[in-house]
């Protein structure tokens, strides 16, 4: 176990724990307004202070962790669920028109400016957590398709696959039974990285007002709300910012640590 892995899992579990605990307990009701108590700096009653409506920031950060994790996790799920089968298919049919179509399709998605498209999607279908998930998820598909195909291609050259083919197994079965288990490590590592990118993307979308809508707290929207008040209530911007940094940092360290631990030869794409 490397230092990265220990620190990464510690930070990530902290955030996940906060999100889980928020289902059963938060110090205050995260949505309860208390305007006379607004803009308090961190103190004994409100550990992270209160926001411009007098809501308890600590409770909001806890519930906000839930939003961030949910959006990023589902987006990664979409990317994997669609990207991995595409990648496996492309590899199994290497050089065919199917492979060509899948890979060109990937290039095409990559060619779109992701943030602009995300903004467009939310502008068209309305702002909200679901549309944020879709917007982020779409751009995860080619990432997983590409790395799955790359890894699968080299596996197809290996002898144990050849043995399976000789035994009469079809391409689909080989992909599911032999290729997939062997790319799992890679997918876990890449998944962690995409998870952290998803957290950042969600924060960015919420920041421009296109992520989860009130009263669901979201770190990005907390930052957007804090913008004009940062000069007299800096805790409003510092705390959600640090929450994002801790989460992303934790996941990235976890990803690196997992890679070293599972298979040091794995190369992850970071884009």
């Amino acid at each position: 176990m490397s230092r990265n892995l220990i620190l990464g899992s510690a930070l990530s579990s902290l955030v996940v724990l906060a999100a889980l605990v928020s289902f059963v307990w938060t110090p205050y009701d995260h949505a309860a307004l208390n305007i006379p108590d607004k803009l308090q700096p961190p103190n004994a009653q409100h550990w992270f202070g209160t926001d411009h409506f007098g809501r308890d920031m600590f409770s909001m950060i806890m519930v906000g962790a839930r939003t961030s994790i949910a959006v990023a996790l589902v987006a990664v799920g979409i990317g994997m669920a669609l990207g991995v089968p595409l990648g496996l298919t492309a590899a199994a049919r290497k050089g065919s028109w199917l492979d060509e179509v899948i890979m060109r399709g990937n290039d095409l998605v990559f060619a779109f400016p992701s943030l602009v498209i995300a903004i467009l999607i939310t502008a068209v279908f309305g702002a909200g957590a679901i549309n944020a998930i879709i917007a982020i998820g779409i751009f995860n598909i080619p990432v997983f398709a590409r790395i799955t195909r790359g890894a699968a291609l080299s596996l197809w050259e290996r002898e144990f696959i050849l043995a399976a083919r000789v035994a009469g197994k079809g391409a689909a079965r080989i992909s599911a039974e032999h290729i997939l288990p062997n790319v799992a490590n890679l997918l876990i590592v890449q998944g962690t990285i995409q998870f952290s990118l998803g957290i950042l993307a969600e924060a960015g979308l919420s920041y421009v007002g296109l992520g989860a809508q009130s009263p669901t707290p979201s770190w990005g929207r907390m930052l957007a709300d804090a913008q004009t008040m940062v000069s007299f209530a800096p805790h409003l911007a510092l705390i959600p910012g640090l929450a994002i940094i801790v989460t992303v940092l934790g996941l990235n360290l976890l990803g690196d640590g997992l890679r070293d631990w599972l298979d040091p030869r794995i190369r992850v794409a970071r884009a």
Partner: protein, 315 residues
Amino acid sequence: MLRYTLKRLLSLLVSLAVASVVIFAVIEVAPGDPASFMLGVNAQEDTLAALRAELGLDVSKTQRYFNWISGMLVGDFGTSYTYRTPVSQMIADRLWVSLPLALYALTLSTLIAFPAGIYAAARRGKPGDLTVMGATQLGIAVPNFWFAMMLVLIFAINLRWFNAGGFAGWDNGFWTGLHSLTLPAIALALPQAAILARVMRSSLLDILAEDFMRTARAKGLTRRQALWRHGVRNALIPVLTIIGLQFSFLLAGSIIIEQVFYLPGLGRLVFQAISARDLIVVESVVMLLVFAVITVNFLVDLAYAAVDPRLRSRT
């Protein structure tokens, strides 16, 4: 090589055609009528119809799609619904902000990333390497708009070294223009520099493990000499690829940073146009960005194929 080029060219054209349909379809289903947006709440139905006719919005969607595409093929991007000026002119104006900003940010990130990456690779596993790697982890984790907010708070509001935003214009001199792009460029450059430094380091480490490096060491070069003479140069290929990717990202991805610093760039143009339902502007800018990325990818692929014939069989 010719066959390969033709094949790639064909797929480039197909990609562009598909992209144009997707862009048009997504944008046209957006709810909101540009004419009623412009005329506001008290507009009468006949007034709206008159404006729609004036904007060319009264023909079918298919017809509009072909008008748009055929215009673009001859370099006519149409006329903005709200500003009533040619879209190509608007894009050109905005590029004078976005392009220099992207270049500036890229330069800064390269200037930070190269020394950091080389230093870390040279001291692999030592405290220096760990510090640099820790810093890059942090750099990747910081959302750039949050970093931008902090920069404004410290350098514009408290220290007043820089303007809080806005663009002074190149007319007032190169340095004035550059000065007003400095904070946004730093905000954009930091996360990019962190990624680039990591790529630089790992690419160098790969090269250092190669046989010819061992040969170089065996010839009597010191570790440092070998690193500089052979390592850095050979490690540049993957690094340059990343830089290319980052450039196109910066061009379109500065949308939030342009918002924070109220820069009249391409990203803000798109943002404004989306909320004003200036559909033709959104369509044309997005199409242009997609075209740029696809074309750059195409050229990179060709360049690689020219250098390394093995790649031609890869699709």
